[in-house]
């Protein structure tokens, strides 16, 4: 239980068995490769790594370009829950090797280039069609705009109606050599399109007048040289052709995506696995014929690995040693089935350094309890359990990490059910609110031990007591950790003294309120005094001079206010549990009110009650999870735990799109 024991392994093997050994290390999934210090590198695998990298570049490109044309038949949720095609490594390799990714990528790239060119042309055609539509009634050939004749040239421009009138006036002196065409316009349009045709001899002057009047010239490509109706027809025809081609290419890409994406996904997993393997080899040292790979391995996995290496031949030698002081081994948490799902919570914070106390089994019972108190509703618990049961029924191959996460909520649901029964909450006050549930009332009332609605102070007291117990437990663990390391003074001064002080004060207060016999309060006071004195002494022990000793001591005693804050922080257990119950009550109330509406009332009531409770469930699960977690991280961990370890991440066969069948290489 706790942090698994690791060994430092040095594996020497002959180059001839390189691939076999690497495969064994990877498929064992139990070896975390240690990067060599210094710049020892074995360059033989660099070419292999480069090859992997090239294939992965193609794969990334294909994912990006074909991804838009592909709807994965397996939804991402299904995939996360383990619904993936099951292949052996061999089948995966075959699938990957029969595909020429480079060829595929270049054909897709070609299709994309053509597609982009087509789209560019389409946008140009549309722009030209737009221009032509503005001078639809222009009677002459458009060649006059593009090329003109020997003496004649035309220019097209847009300007406001007022500017056009002004320009027409300015052009009057040149009337003999010019002609102004004004296109028909919609009365609402503020701009008008004109064509000025002029003798080339006056070109400069005419253009100048246009510019002075604020005209914006519109250029048409020179190949548009027929009349407007002719050119419009041409453009429409070409546009239709382009759009047909575009649709054709898109259909082709869709087909390619459908045909090849599953293969590309498999190839992605294949090359990813190989990449990991070669990286491990790249982190090895080598002579001309021998390779040395160093790795961390859990002691329990050692015999299995040795056996597999022996089967592979006699060209390997495994040297195993214990981690030394200078080493910083990673942390692998190992806990019994019931605690294992809670490892997620430790991992979210930060795993313990190797050799330290694993807080998982310590926090598990408290998280279990707190989650139940915060959510605190038997109805919600039943919904959660049903959902989890259905999930496990539907999905049979859920990966371990996801399974742990679901199990964590399953534990939460059990605790919620228990606390819901004890506090008499079933979808809020569902049993009391609706007459048809009356048959359950006596059972519910008989099982109730606490009533947060009528007597919140009782639950507040329980919450604070649990908080005190949680904090003192944290301090006790801290003290144990100090003693284990032989730091007795720290254990006594920093942890045990506080336990004495706070428990003593708490008992004394309980005695004052008459909850405890009076002779106990004397003992409690003595406990607190002893604790306080030790705290006082411990804080000032390294200070020089009586004065600074005194100040440090008083400051330390003053620090007890933080414990007051910590304990009060557990009042959230009451508040959140009460919150869930009242939200449930409100939903039932609204449902009951809706039921009074004639004819459709029952329907609205069902919608309100079902929808409302689902919403309440979601929001309360989030709240219960977050706040139970916070009590562990801030209040509990603050007393003894700092984290700071690195998680054990072994070289393994990790596939995203397929499931690797256990047997078969």
């Amino acid at each position: 239980m706790g942090v698994a024991e690791l060994k430092k392994a040095e594996l020497y093997y002959h180059k001839s068995v390189r691939d076999d050994v690497a495969k064994i290390l990877q498929s064992s999934g139990a070896c975390q490769i240690i990067e060599p210090s210094g710049d020892a590198r074995w360059t033989d695998v660099d070419s292999l790594l480069t090859a992997c990298g090239e294939q992965e570049t193609h794969i990334r490109y294909l994912f990006r370009s074909l991804g838009n044309h592909y709807t994965d038949p397996i939804s991402s949720i299904d995939r996360m829950l383990g619904e993936k095609p099951r292949l052996s490594l061999k089948e995966l390799a075959q699938a990957a090797q029969k595909t020429d990714l480079k060829e595929l990528a270049s054909s897709v790239k070609m299709a994309e280039t053509t597609l982009n060119e087509l789209r560019l042309e389409i946008s140009q055609l549309k722009a030209n069609a737009g221009i032509l539509s503005r001078i639809a009634d222009f009677p002459c050939s458009l060649d006059v705009l593009g090329n003109g004749t020997r003496t004649l040239k035309g220019v097209m421009a847009t300007l406001t109606v007022d500017q056009a009138t002004a320009l027409a006036g300015d052009l009057l002196p040149w009337a003999t050599g010019t002609e102004l065409f004004t296109a028909a316009r919609n009365p609402k349009d503020k701009e008008v399109c004109i064509v000025v045709m002029y003798a080339r001899a006056h070109e400069q002057k005419i253009l100048e007048l246009c510019v002075l009047n604020g005209a914006t010239f519109v250029e048409l490509p020179p190949h548009i040289s027929g009349t407007v109706p002719e050119e419009s027809a041409k453009i429409t025809a070409r546009l239709a052709e382009c759009e047909r081609e575009e649709a054709e290419i898109l259909r082709g890409l869709d087909r390619t995506a459908e045909e090849w994406m599953p293969v590309v996904q498999q190839a992605s997993d294949h090359w990813g696995i190989l990449h990991d393997r070669y990286r491990a080899l790249a982190a090895s040292d080598a002579t001309d014929s021998v390779i040395l790979t160093r790795f961390w391995i859990p002691t329990e996995a050692l015999p299995g690995l040795q056996k597999r290496l022996e089967l592979a031949g006699s060209n390997t030698a495994l040297v195993v040693s214990d981690p030394t002081e200078e080493d910083a081994p990673p942390t692998l948490l190992r806990n019994v089935f019931a605690v294992q799902p809670f490892e997620i919570l430790t991992g979210l914070y930060s795993p313990p350094p190797y050799g330290d106390v694993d807080p998982t089994p310590l926090l598990a019972p408290f998280f279990f309890l707190f989650f139940g108190m915060c959510l605190g509703d038997a109805g919600y618990a039943i919904v959660m359990m049903a959902a989890i049961w259905m999930l496990f029924r539907k999905y049979r191959r859920i990966p371990q990490t996801v399974k742990d996460f679901i199990l964590l909520f399953a534990f939460g649901a059990i605790s919620t059910l228990l606390y819901g029964i004890v506090s008499g909450s079933f979808f809020g006050d569902f049993i009391d609110a609706f007459p048809f549930m009356a048959f359950l009332r006596s059972t519910k009332d008989a099982l109730m031990l606490v009533d947060p609605m009528k007597n919140p102070m009782q639950v507040l007291g329980i919450s604070l007591f649990l908080g005190l117990a949680h904090l003192m437990f944290g301090l006790a663990v801290g003290a144990y950790d100090h003693i284990r390391r032989g730091r007795y003074v720290e254990a006594a001064g920093d942890k045990i003294s506080w336990i004495f002080f706070i428990v003593g004060l708490a008992l004394y207060c309980a005695g004052l309120s008459g909850a405890l016999p009076s002779f106990l309060s004397v003992i409690a006071l003595m406990m607190a005094a002893v604790g306080g004195l030790v705290i006082f002494w411990y804080a000032g022990r390294e200070k020089k001079g009586i004065f600074s000793k005194l100040i440090s001591g008083f400051l330390a005693i003053y620090g007890s206010t933080s414990y007051l804050g910590d304990v009060l922080s557990y009042s959230r257990l009451l508040a959140l549990g009460f919150g869930s119950a009242v939200i449930g009550m409100v939903i039932n109330l609204l449902g009951g009110m809706a039921a009074g509406i004639p004819f459709v009332g029952w329907l609205i009531a069902i919608v309100v009650i079902v929808g409302g409770h689902l919403f309440g469930l979601a929001i309360n699960i989030l709240g219960a999870f977050v706040h139970s977690l916070r009590l562990q991280y801030v209040e509990f961990f603050g007393k003894f735990y700092g984290g700071g370890g690195t998680p054990f991440s072994p070289l393994n066969i990790s596939a995203r799109y397929v499931e690797i069948a256990e047997s078969g290489e």
């Binding site: 914070y349 919140p456 959230r572 508040a575 939200i583 009550m585 409100v586 109330l589 989030l622 706040h627």
Partner: protein, 160 residues
């Protein structure tokens, strides 16, 4: 004048939903802007962004919760006749609503800011989701305490 107490009490009830709701709306808005920014880069983050964005929403629910407790205490729910409340009791109920109304309002805004920052954090470090959830929840503590105070105060006000 005999309805003055009821008016005070209803005023308090209105303020708890109103102020806490405004705060939550602002907080969720602030976090939402940040989430939208992150999701333009990485649309796959929708799930985790949504959870972080939802965190400042609880204050509005706490406010609503207190409103309902007050309304049911006053007996005005479901169209029944209100119980008699003298102006003293009305003011007491008003005072009981103030903790969640004000703390809910302001803490939701600050929690929204913390959520927005946490969303930025998971955009760079998706594995830090656990820490990212806990940081905004630290702010919520004070809304929970205010809720608790409001509940305990309301329980203490006796009508009739």
């Amino acid at each position: 004048m005999e309805l003055l107490g009821l008016t005070f009490a209803l005023f308090g009830a209105a303020l708890s939903t109103l102020l806490a709701g405004i705060g939550s709306a602002m907080g969720i808005g602030i976090a939402g802007e940040s989430a939208a920014g992150v999701m333009t880069e990485d649309p796959d983050k929708f799930g985790s962004c949504l959870v972080l964005q939802a965190l400042p929403g609880t204050q509005g629910i706490y406010g609503l919760l207190i409103t309902f407790v007050v309304l049911s205490k006053l007996g005005v729910l479901g169209g029944g006749a209100a119980v008699a409340v003298n102006w003293n009791q009305g003011l007491q109920i008003f005072a009981s609503c103030m903790p969640i109304a004000t703390v809910g309002w302001i803490s939701a805004i600050y929690q929204g800011k913390a959520s927005a920052a946490a969303i930025q954090m998971i955009s760079r470090k998706p594995e830090a989701m656990g820490k990212a959830i806990v940081l905004p929840a630290m702010v919520e503590t004070y809304a929970v305490l205010a809720l608790l105070t409001s509940i305990l105060m309301l329980m203490g006000v006796s009508l009739g």
